[in-house]
Each structure stands twice: as C-alpha cells, then as structure tokens.
C-alpha cells in the first residue's frame, strides 16, 4: 500500500553540505496494516512521513502510495500533497480555530476534486464524528474542545474522505498520561475496525509496541531494525535497539563457542553464559549480553539446577507498587531486575540470579 524505495532527504542550509535527515531507507507497508516508525527525536521519522504526505520533497528515491507513484527522483514526478489519497493527523492537531467542529471535518469534502452534495457532506461528517465519539459537538467552535477531543476531531477530519492511507505524526504526545493510554487503545481499535493502512510516527516505545503490526526502529536517518513488536522487543539486533526499547542490562564478553547457529556460550566477568546470538558472530568476537530486568529470576537459596546461575548480593530494592526494582551486585556487574512485589530483601542479602538462556541475547559490542 505504501512503498518507499531508497528515500533520501537532505536539508540544505545554503552554507554547509546539508544534513541527511533521511539516508537511503526502504520499506513497505502492507494494506490494512499498522506500521510504526519509532525512534528518538531527529532520527528522520517525521521527515519520512512528511515526504510521504507530500509536504516535503525528497532528494532521491521513490514513493508509491496505493499503487500510484507519487514521487520519483528519477523522472522528477511529484504529486502535490492535496492530490495524494491520504489523511493526516498532526502533532499539534492543527485544528482550524476559525471553523466549527462540523466545518473542520467537512473541509476535506468541500475542497476535493469531486463535488460532494450538502446532504452527503452532512452524512459523512456525521459518520466521521460518530466514529470518534464526537456526535453532538458539531456546532461548537473547535477551540472550545479539550485536548483529547481536539485530537479525536483531527482524526475525524483525516478519515472523512476515506483516504487510502492514514498518516499519524506523534498524535498522542500532547495528551496527559491517562488520556494517552485510553486513546492508544481507541486508535488501535478504530484502525483494526476500518482496516485502514496506517503509518504512525512516535518516539514512545509503548505506543509502538501496543498498537503496531510492524515496527521500524530508526536512528540517524536509517532503519536499524524492522519487525513485529514482539520480535523487536525480544530479539533486538543492535545495542541501540536494545537500549531504546525497554531497559536492558548489558554485560561485556567474548564468544567462547557456538552451540548452534543461534545459540552460544559467552565468556563474561561473571563466568560463561549460555545465550542466543545474532547470526554471523564468530567465536572470539567481542559482544554484549543483553537481558531485560523482568527476565531475571531471583533465588534466595542456591537453585538445585538451571543454567546461567550467578551468585551476588542485593544492592538496592525499591518498592514501586507493581513490582520491586531490585539491583543485584555481581562480581563486576550490577544487574537491574524487576521482581514480584512480595519479595522481601535487604541490602547485602546473598542471592542467586538465574538468566534464562532463551531471554539473553549476545549482540555485537559496537
């Protein structure tokens, strides 16, 4: 539905060589899928989205939306934003303050190429507002709505002309935490119900993990890893991805030997650890072993059996309600772990940590 081929966007400041905001990226969003570009600010995700919308003109590459070539550097073709079959929600919502709620939603129908009769406008606006549960607000001025309502209004406006593709630019970042959580859920439900192809841009890993079919993690203008939320979370391919999504423990080591093409023994300061390994890493390679805090099992007595068991002492234990954030001091490393709230320990207590081999991953050190 959306196809991006070798897209490059350079921002010229007229003096220097220019900043490569997007540096040769390619990806495909299948019809009906929820695809998320996730990355820190300045990674090029919003620029990519704006190129697809037609608000920026890329320097190189090709963009195909709904089977139609909307941009190609090769033949110089460029379809302006208003001729692309898109609906877009902006970070600031961009609700027009001089129009009522109804007029805001009706706008895309009124400016479009084909004339829509007044009766149809009323019907479609009504349906769009019903979808976002804003029925009854038609005559309000748009600025009288609350933040969450404005956000839904922006969504209704993006959907009203039934676009092929929905583009969302950090739409939830201006909402407070509780509202964000609810909107996350509603947005996902709406997308699944309408089966509309959606490209979502965010820096929030929870939004990305909870809503997407596919996540592409971006950094410095390139896609570092693409995959289903579960895969990206559990099998990060680089240190950057492991760090950016969720929190991780890292232990430096060296590959001792490969046990299969995706498992290995890694020599670390705390002894040998058996773990998963990224393909292509040979014995002797410098690696980091990453493991999530919630993967670490804690034993107050030496366990009878089990691999990757290391002895240590409790560093600090913080009660956070849902869980206890408990650090464990090993020989040279300190592990952060999340334990059940029932855990009762004191600083200095001897403990044994168990790192499940299936949840440890050896990644290239650099």
């Amino acid at each position: 539905m959306i196809e991006i081929k070798s897209l490059v966007k350079v921002y010229e400041d007229g003096v220097n060589a220019g900043v490569r905001a997007v540096s040769d990226i390619s990806f495909t969003v299948e019809a009906g899928r929820f695809y998320t570009l996730l990355g820190p600010s300045g990674c090029g995700k919003t620029t990519t989205l704006r190129c697809i919308a037609g608000l920026e003109k890329a320097n190189e590459g090709e963009i195909i939306v709904a089977g139609k070539k909307v941009f190609s550097a090769k033949d110089g073709s460029f379809v302006p934003a208003y001729r692309r079959p898109i609906g877009m929600v902006f970070q600031s919502y961009a609700i027009w303050p001089h129009m009522s709620v109804f007029e805001n939603v009706a706008f895309p129908l009124r400016v479009g190429k084909e004339r829509v009769s007044n009766a149809d406008v009323r019907k479609k606006v009504g349906a769009a507002l019903a979808q976002v549960e804003l029925t009854g607000y038609e005559d309000r001025m748009a600025t009288q709505l609350s933040g969450g309502q404005q956000q839904r209004l922006a969504l209704a406006r993006a959907l009203v002309r039934e676009p092929q593709v929905l583009l969302l630019d950090e739409p939830l970042s201006n909402l407070d935490a509780k509202l964000r959580e609810r909107m996350r859920f509603e947005l996902r439900e709406l997308q699944r119900r309408l089966r509309i192809t959606t490209l979502y841009v965010t820096h929030d890993q929870i939004e990305a993990l909870s809503m997407s079919n596919v996540i592409a993690v971006m950094n410095a203008g390139v896609i570092v890893q693409e995959g289903a939320p579960r895969d990206v979370y559990l099998q990060p391919k680089t240190k950057f991805v492991a760090n950016f999504i969720g929190s991780t423990n890292q232990m430096i080591g060296e590959v001792a030997r490969l046990e299969s093409n995706c498992t290995a023994l890694v020599r670390t300061d705390e002894g040998e650890i058996s773990c998963g390994i990224l393909e292509g890493l040979a014995p002797g390679s410098k690696v980091v072993v990453v493991v999530r805090p919630e993967s670490v099992n804690l034993h107050q007595h030496p366990p009878a059996h089990g691999a990757n068991v290391i002895e240590g002492k409790i560093g600090a234990a913080m009660f956070l309600g849902e869980y206890v954030d408990c650090t464990v001091e090993l020989g040279k490393n300190v592990l952060q772990t999340h334990q059940r709230y029932t855990l009762q320990v004191r600083r200095g207590d001897p403990v044994w940590v168990e790192l499940p081999a299936g949840e440890c991953m050896a990644l290239p050190a650099e």
Partner: protein, 574 residues
C-alpha cells in the same frame, strides 16, 4: 547552619526598603507626565480665556470647534484621509510581507531590510520629496510624463486628498510591513499543511485557511494604521494646508496660529481627536486580546510554508523591484539631486551644469541650521536616555515588585500612546504657558513632550526584557544580602542592557524626526530640524531644505548603523 543567618528568604521588594523611594518617585513622575497635561487640556477646553485668575466655565470653545461651517468638511476629510491611508498602506505592507515571507519570489531576502528603509526618512521630508515629484507645476514625474506622452495637463496633483493619502501611506508602509511579517511568522504551518493533506490546493489553502486566520490580525493592524494617520500632521501640514484640505490635526494647528491664538478652540478640537484616538487604541488592544483566543499567535516562531508561485513569482519580483525603485528609492534620489541645485529644476544637461555644493556651503555658515541640529541631537539623546531610565524603573515595579496597585503604573505608562502628537503639544502649551518656572519656549518643554510621548515605546522594550529575566535571579541576589538598589544595579540592569539599548536607539530615531508635537512647541531658539525644514520650505528655499534633509538622513543613517551593529535586527514598535 548557614541558612540561619538568612532567616527568611524574602520576596524582592515586598518589604519596605528606603530604596523604594526611587521607584515610587518614578511613578510620581509618570503621573505628572501622563495625566496632568490631559487634565489641563480638558480644563482649558472649557475655559473662557487662557490662564485667567479664576476658572470661568464655557462651552463656546466646543461650539467654535464642532458647530462651525468647517466641521462637516473636516470630519469627512479626516475620515477619507485616515481610512484611505490605512487601506493603502495595509495593502502594500501585506503584499510586501507576503511576497517576502511566504512565497518563492526570487531575491526576496534582500527586500526585507529594504522595506524598512523609509523609517529613516522623516515624514516632513517624505512629503517634500513627493511634492518635488508630483507637484502639478514643477513635479518631475508630471513634467516627464507630459513631455513623454505630449499631455496637455499634469497627470498627478499631489495637492489633493489622494495625494495626501499616497504620501502618508508610503511613509507608513514599513509599520504595516513589520506587523504583517510578525503575523505571518507566528502562524502555525501545520494549519496550512493539514488543509493540503485534506485535499486543498494552493489557492484553496490560501483562501480558506491562511487568509481567514489572518483576519483578526489584519483588522487590528488596519485599526492602528487608521489611528496613526488620524494623528499625523506631516502630510496635512505640507500638502493639506496649501491645498486647503483640512483635517483635525491641521485645524488644531490653525487655531493655534490664529491671531491671537485660539487655545480654547484648539483645546476643544484636541479633546475630540484624543477621544477618537483613545477609542481606536482601546479597540486595538481589545482586538489583539481577542486575537490571542484565536490561537494563531502562540509566541512560538515557526518556519512558515512557502507558497510556490510558479511563473507568477516573476510578477512578484517585478512588483517588489518596482516598489523599491519608485516608492523607496525615488524620494531619496530626488532630495539628493535637489540639494545640489541653486533652484529647483528638472534633471537635464543644463541643470547638470548648475550642480554645485553651494547649498551645503551656505548651510555651513547658517546659524539657524546649526542651532536646530544641536537642539535635535541634544533632544534625541536626552529623550532616549530619560525615557529608557524611567521606563525600566516603571517596568521593574510593574512586573517584578508586585507592589499593590502597580497595574495602575502599567496603565499610566500606556496612556501616552493614545495622545496624538499635536494634542500633546496643545496640552503642554496650556500647562506651561503660565507655569511658575519659565520653561515654555525652551527645549525643555520639548523634552517633556517627547519623553511623555515615547514612554509607551520604552515600556515595550523594557518590559519585554524584564519579563525574560527569571525572578529567581533577583531573589538569589536578595538572599545573598543585596539591597534592592544593589540588586537592580548589579543583576537586573546588566541583564536588561541589550533590550534597553535597542529601545534607546529606536526612541532616538523617532525623537530626531518628530514633527507634530514640535510644530506647536518649538519656537525661535528651541527650533528643531523638522521645524526648520517646514518653515524654510514654506518660505520657498526648497533646495536648501533638500540639503538639510540629506544631512538629516545622513545623521540618522549613522544612528541606524549603530542600531544594527548593537542589536543585529529590526525591532517592531507600534
């Protein structure tokens, strides 16, 4: 513990400190400057004769002012002059702002500083330059067009209402331009982008979103241009009076120039003009507050979207070039040219042979010129210094001290913006003509007038920079044991400096070119440059006037160069 010696960290200025006498004195001065003259004006307008032993109430001044045979024509002329100039300068200023800020017109960048160049051309000179160009008898453009097309009569007559409107508008375009640039700059581009992603093309986006969002701002800009025209006296004096087209400002001036001066009638007219202007300013502040609700101005600076004009961008380029050649450059050129002529003549080979430095040589030994130059420089320097000192104190009291009732000071410091220059002149005459200290007729009464008029400008610079200083910076000084005065001197003032310097130079420029207040107050030895230009032009020494104008512009250019050097940008003042 160390904190024991500090006892309670106090709010700066909240407790009584002997140094508080200073801000309170500043407040007192403000009341004296802003309120007393208006009170005198009001009393004077109901008074039977000027400065009598006792007050005799009468309405005859108002009768003379508003029930004469001229009342209707003055009203209509003022209305046409003000609305015509507001519309024309708004249209030109908006066009310039849009082309330079929001389109891909070629070379638009260099036109931005050029658009504000006319600010250094004093209004009196602007009028004189356009008389040189458009006078039906000898105006260059008329003479050329007549010979070029073999016309029987001159195509333009500057001595008419359209002439006045044109000359005043041209001088006011920079203000309209700066205000509209600010409006364009503060517009959230995603409001337009979301229209485009909704399927609206360039023209639909411009018409249905951009234009509509600009409407509240445009309304208030039009209003301020209207009020400023109503208050102006340059074009009404130099063009209106010879053409017998009278507006309120010229009526006031003529009442003053009657034999004997009719201060009562002038005062009554001034009260009317003051009310008009006050209503305008009130509507303006209301409109700008309403505008904030509209949320297009969020205080955030955006990089606005550029409209692709396609082939039309060359039309835009043509417009900009034409504007700068004919509207900005031509007045300067004609003044420059005329300043080398023994008498006014159209450019020709014959005239070229007559070019000389005689006018400048003449000025070298012309005492009144040097006196006026000295007065203008002294006044501009003192006005800027006094006004900025006063307003930084007042702004500090208003925004930092949180003394009870400090909003009154804020209001008082805003009052002078509603006082038209000529009304200020009239009020000060009524106040000082019988004042115990004989300052009437000296430059000191001019200083008082200028300082009062430019307090609002000073307030804007000073409060802008004061609001940027975080309160804790001062509280830290107080917590370190610094007195109020020590804090102000060592912390507040150094932080304020850049803003104050910019304000100082702006006030210097407007004081240097001031005309409408000076025309009533500057007499004999207190004459300033703009008044010297006016009287000498009336006497017909037009080429010497051009030479004075060139020297005046040169002086201002030097100050503007300093302005750019110190601040690196153009400030916006209304």
């Amino acid at each position: 513990m160390a904190t024991a010696t500090i006892a309670h960290p106090r709010r700066v200025g909240f407790t009584w400190d002997p140094a508080l006498v200073i801000p309170l004195a500043g407040a007192g001065i403000l009341v004296y400057l802003a309120v007393l003259p208006l009170l005198m004006l009001l009393i004077g307008s109901f008074q039977a004769e000027v400065a009598p032993r006792e007050f005799v109430y009468t309405l005859k001044n108002y009768q003379a002012a508003y029930a004469s045979e001229y009342t209707y024509s003055t009203f209509v002329n003022s209305l046409i002059f003000a609305s015509g100039s507001a519309t024309l300068s708004f249209a030109l200023g908006t066009m310039l702002a849009w082309l330079t800020e929001r389109t891909n017109t070629p070379l638009r960048g260099i036109f931005v500083p050029l658009a504000v160049v006319p600010l250094i051309l004093p209004g009196v000179l602007e009028s004189i330059a356009w008389i040189f160009l458009l006078s039906p008898k000898f105006g260059y453009l008329n003479v050329w067009l007549m010979s070029l097309f073999g016309l029987q009569s001159p195509p333009f007559n500057v001595f008419s209402l359209p002439g006045m409107i044109w000359v005043h508008s041209v001088g006011q375009v920079p203000l309209a331009f700066l205000l509209m640039v600010a409006a364009f700059k503060s517009m959230d581009p995603s409001l337009e982008e979301s229209a485009m992603t909704s399927g609206a093309n360039t023209w639909q986006t411009f018409k249905r979103v951009t234009l509509r969002l600009l409407m509240p701002t445009a309304g208030s800009v039009l209003l301020i241009l209207f009020v400023r025209t109503l208050e102006s006296f340059e074009a009404p004096a130099l063009i209106g009076i010879p053409a017998r087209i009278y507006v309120y400002t010229s009526e006031i001036y003529l009442a003053f120039n009657d034999y004997p001066p009719d201060y009562g009638r002038g005062g009554a007219l001034a009260v009317g003009l003051l009310l008009l202007s006050a209503v305008g300013v009130w509507l303006y502040t209301r409109a700008t507050k309403e505008g904030k609700k509209f949320q297009t101005v969020t205080g955030k600076a955006f990089r606005p979207r550029q409209f692709d004009l396609g082939g039309w961008r060359w039309v835009g380029f043509g417009f900009l070039t034409g504007y700068f050649l004919f509207v900005v450059l031509l007045p300067f050129l004609v003044l420059f040219w005329a300043s080398f002529l023994p008498f006014f003549a159209t450019p020709s080979l014959d005239a070229l042979n007559k070019l000389s430095l005689d006018n400048y040589r003449y000025l070298g030994s012309f005492r009144p010129f040097w006196d006026a130059m000295k007065n203008s420089i002294i006044l501009a320097t003192l006005t800027a210094t006094v006004a900025m000192t006063l307003t930084s104190l007042v702004a500090w009291i208003v925004y930092k001290s949180r003394l009870p009732g400090s909003w009154i000071l804020d209001f008082l410091a805003f009052v002078p913006i509603t006082i038209p220059g000529i009304v200020m002149g009239m009020s000060l005459i009524l106040l000082y003509v019988a004042f115990p200290i004989p300052i009437y007729g000296t430059i000191w009464v001019l200083l008082i007038a200028y300082v009062t008029r430019y307090i609002p400008y000073g307030m804007r610079s000073a409060s802008g920079s004061i609001l940027q200083i975080h309160g804790e910076l001062e509280e830290a000084a107080a917590a370190s044991g610094a007195s109020w005065w020590e804090t102000f001197k060592r912390v507040t003032l150094p932080l304020l400096r850049p803003g104050l310097v910019a304000g100082w130079i702006y006030i210097y420029i407007v004081s240097f070119r001031e005309f409408s207040t000076s025309v009533l107050l500057a007499t004999g030895e207190s004459r300033v440059l703009s008044i010297l230009l006016f009287t000498m032009f009336e006497q017909g020494q037009v080429t010497v006037v051009a030479a004075i104008g060139v020297l005046m512009i040169a002086t201002l250019l030097a100050v503007v160069a300093l302005f750019y050097k110190l601040t690196g940008r153009v400030g916006i003042q209304t």
